[in-house]
C-alpha cells in the first residue's frame, strides 16, 4: 500500500489547479442544455483545448497530454473543485473516443479525434430508441446497403439523445442484418446531424431544459468510411466500452467529492436541531470519499493489467444513488426554500436520471448478481 501521489502527480495537480483558478469563468455559465448556454460552453471548451486541458489522457498528437489514469483523476478532482462548467462534449470524449481508440481505423482517428478535442464537432449518443432502452438489443433503426453510393441508407428513430438539438454529430447502433439474431446484425455508425434526411426535435427534461432530442432518420446516407469497427460488429464494439459509461470515465469521483463538499457548506449554513439530518450530511461525505477510494483501488487494478469488467456496474449503482441522496439531503436542509430554482433543485431533478441512464440500476443489480456473485440466470 502506498497512497502517496508522486512528485510528478503533485506537480500535475499544481499546474491544473493554477490554470483553472486563473481561467474558470467567475460567473457560472448558463445551462449547457439550452441553446445559448451551449454556445457559451463551447467557447469555454475551446479555451480548455487551447491550453491542452480538454482531453488530458489522450495522446499529444490529438491534443492531449498523454496523462495517466491517475493524472486524469487528479485533473477531474481539480476541475470540479474549481467549479468549472459541465462538459457538453462529454459523450464524444468519454464514450465515442475510447471506442475510436480501440476500434477506429487510423484514418477515422486522424479525421475525428482532433476536431472532437477542439470542440469543433460535438457528438451525441444515438443508442436508445422508443422501443429499445435498457433492452438495447431490441434496436430497430435500419441501415440498408447502398452499393452504388458505397455506403448505407439509414431510417428509423433515436430518442433520449442528450443535447441532440445542439450537437453536430451522432454515433449510434443500427440494424444492418435484419435476419440475424438480436445482438448480431448491428453496426456502429457515425453521421453528421445536418445530413439530408435528418430531423431533430428537442424536448424538455424534468429540469425544463431542452436537454433531450428525438432524431428522425429518413433515408440518410452514411459512407462506408463511417462504419466503426466492422459491419454487423456493432454490439461487440458498443459493449466493449459500456464500462466507460457506467464506471470511471463518465463519472469520476471529483464530481461527487465536490457535491459532498457543497452539501457540507450548505449544512453549516442551515443548522438542524435533531441531528438525524446532520448524520445524513456526514454519511454523504463519507460515501463520496468511499467512492473515491473504490475507484483508486480500481485504477490500481487497471494499471496492473487486471480489467475491472462487470465491476463498473458497482460504480454505476453507487454513484447514481449517492447523487440522489446528496441532493435529497440538501433539499431537506433548505426547508421551504427547496422548491425554489437553485443549483440544488436543478441538480436533484437531474440526479433522478442517474439510476436510469447508462443501463438502469435494475439491470446493473442483475449484472452484479449474475456476473460478480455467480448467481443463476432466470
Amino acid at each position: 500500500m502506498d497512497l502517496r501521489w508522486s512528485a510528478e502527480e503533485q506537480e500535475f495537480r499544481r499546474e491544473a489547479r493554477t490554470w483553472l483558478e486563473a481561467n474558470v469563468p467567475r460567473q457560472p455559465l448558463p445551462s449547457g442544455d439550452t441553446r445559448a448556454g451551449f454556445a457559451a460552453h463551447l467557447a469555454w471548451e475551446q479555451r480548455l483545448f487551447a491550453a491542452r486541458w480538454s482531453v488530458v489522457s489522450w495522446p499529444e498528437a490529438y491534443g492531449g497530454r498523454d496523462a495517466t489514469l491517475w493524472q486524469w483523476l487528479i485533473f477531474e478532482e481539480e476541475y470540479y473543485r474549481a467549479g468549472a462548467p459541465q462538459r457538453v462534449t462529454q459523450n464524444g470524449i468519454f464514450l465515442l473516443a475510447p471506442t475510436l481508440f480501440a476500434f477506429g481505423t487510423p484514418e477515422q482517428q486522424q479525421r475525428l479525434l482532433p476536431r472532437m478535442a477542439a470542440a469543433e464537432d460535438v457528438w451525441a449518443q444515438g443508442w436508445s430508441e422508443p422501443g429499445a432502452g435498457s433492452d438495447l438489443a431490441a434496436i430497430s433503426s435500419r441501415a440498408v446497403r447502398d452499393p452504388a453510393g458505397g455506403g448505407w441508407r439509414l431510417s428509423g428513430q433515436k430518442t433520449w439523445t442528450t443535447r441532440g438539438a445542439f450537437c453536430t454529430h451522432l454515433f449510434g447502433l443500427f440494424r444492418t442484418d435484419p435476419a440475424a439474431e438480436r445482438h448480431h446484425g448491428l453496426s456502429y455508425l457515425l453521421l453528421p446531424l445536418d445530413a439530408p434526411g435528418v430531423t431533430v426535435r428537442g424536448f424538455q427534461r424534468l429540469d425544463g431544459d431542452e436537454g433531450f432530442a428525438e432524431v428522425f432518420l429518413d433515408d440518410v446516407f452514411v459512407p462506408d468510411a463511417d462504419v466503426l469497427g466492422g459491419v454487423d460488429q456493432g454490439w461487440a464494439v458498443a459493449m466493449a466500452t459500456t464500462g466507460s459509461e457506467r464506471g470511471l470515465t463518465l463519472r469520476s469521483p471529483g464530481r461527487f467529492l465536490h457535491t459532498a463538499e457543497r452539501l457540507v457548506r450548505t449544512a453549516r449554513a442551515h443548522p438542524e436541531p435533531t441531528g438525524a439530518l446532520r448524520d445524513r450530511v456526514v454519511q454523504g461525505w463519507i460515501d463520496a470519499q468511499a467512492y473515491r477510494l473504490f475507484t483508486l483501488e480500481q485504477v490500481t487494478a487497471i494499471s496492473e493489467g487486471r480489467p475491472v469488467g462487470a465491476e463498473s456496474s458497482l460504480n454505476k449503482l453507487f454513484w447514481s444513488e449517492l447523487d440522489v441522496r446528496l441532493h435529497e439531503t440538501a433539499l431537506e436542509l433548505l426547508g421551504p426554500q427547496a422548491e425554489l430554482d437553485s443549483p440544488w433543485s436543478r441538480g436533484f431533478l437531474f440526479s433522478l436520471a442517474g439510476p436510469i441512464y447508462a443501463g438502469t440500476n435494475e439491470i446493473q443489480r442483475t449484472i452484479v448478481a449474475e456476473r460478480l456473485l455467480g448467481l443463476p440466470r432466470k
Partner: protein, 373 residues
Amino acid sequence: MRFRIAEDDAALAGAAAALLAKEATAREIRAGWPGGDTGRVDAVWRRLAAIGALGTLVPDSADGPGSGLGLGLDENALVPLLVELGRSGLPVPAVETVAVGAPLLAAAGSPHLAEVLAGRLLLTASLDGSGLVPFGQRAPLLVLRADDGLRLYERGELALEPVESTDGSRASARLLRPPDGGGQLLCTAPEELERAWQRGVLGTAALLVGLAERMIELTVDHVQQRRQFGAPVGSFQAVQHALADAHLAVRFARPAVLAAAWSQASSGTAAEAASETAAGADAAVVTSMAKVLASDAARLVARTAIQCHGAIGCTTEYDLHLYAKRAWALAAAWGGPAAHRELIARHLHLPTVEMIRDRIEQGAGFGPGRGPL
C-alpha cells in the same frame, strides 16, 4: 498511489487464511460458546501464534522480550490478516491482542509478552470505558483504561462477572467496579492511548469486512442450491438484487479500511503530507469512515443473508448465525457508526450533539431553511 497490498503483508494473511480454512471450522467456533471445549479454540490460536500472526505489530528485535515472535510490520499488514480472521469466525481476542495489546506490552517491556505472542496466555483489552470486556471470561490478562492511562491487569486483581450476550463465543464479562490501582502501567501519553484506540477501531473494521464476505459466500452457496417454484431461489430478481446491494456495501467498505490502515501507518510522516487520502482528513477521520462503512455493510449483509436463507437462517443449527452475531457485536464495538459519524461531524465543522443540545436549552428558535441558498 497504489492500492496494492505489499508482498510480506499478503504472505502473512495468506498463511493465516490457509491455516484457518483448514483448522477453524464451525466446530471450533461453536467450541467458544458456553459449555464448549475452548481448548479447541486455543489450539488454533497457538498455531496462528506459531506463524507470527500475534506479533504482527511487535518490533522484530530478536533480543527483546518477545523471543523473536515480533514481525515488525505495520497497520498495512494488520488489515489483510484481520480480514481473514473475521472471515474464519474463530472466537479469539484478535483485535485485542494483535492490534492493541501486544504492541503495548512490547513497548512497556512486559514480562508477559513472550507467553502472549506464543498464544499460551490469552490477552484481552477494553478501552471504551463501558465496563464490558470481550473475552473477559477467558483471558487471564486484561488491558483496561485507568485514570492515568492504560494498565495491564491480571484477572485476580479485578472484579469481573460473566454476562450473557448475543454472540456467546465472545465470552464477555462486566467489570463490577473500576480497578482500584494495581496492574502495570503500559502507557500514559494521550497520543499513545489514542493510537491504541485507533488500532482497535481499524482492526474491528477489518474483522467486519471478513465476516461480511463470509456471510455473502454462505448465502450465494445457499441460493444456488435451494430451489422453490421449480428454480434456484438465486435466480429470482428480488434475491439477486438484495444480494447485489449487500455485496456493493462490502466492496465499498474494503478500500476504505485499507486506506485507514495506510493512514495510520504513515501518520505524522512526510508520506501523509504528500497524500490526500480523504480530503485532507487525518488518520482518525479515515479510520472512523472505515468503521462506519464496515459496520453498516456487515449489518446489511447479516440481515440480507438471513432473509435470503429463509427459515433456516433463523436457526442456530445452521452456521450463519455464528457470523451474523459476531457482526452485530463488532458493529457496535470500538464505537458504533453513530459515534464515529459524530467524530466526522466535528472534523467537518458541523454542529455536534452537544452544540445542538445547548441551542435547544437556550430556546433558540432556529429551524431548517433559514440560511442562504
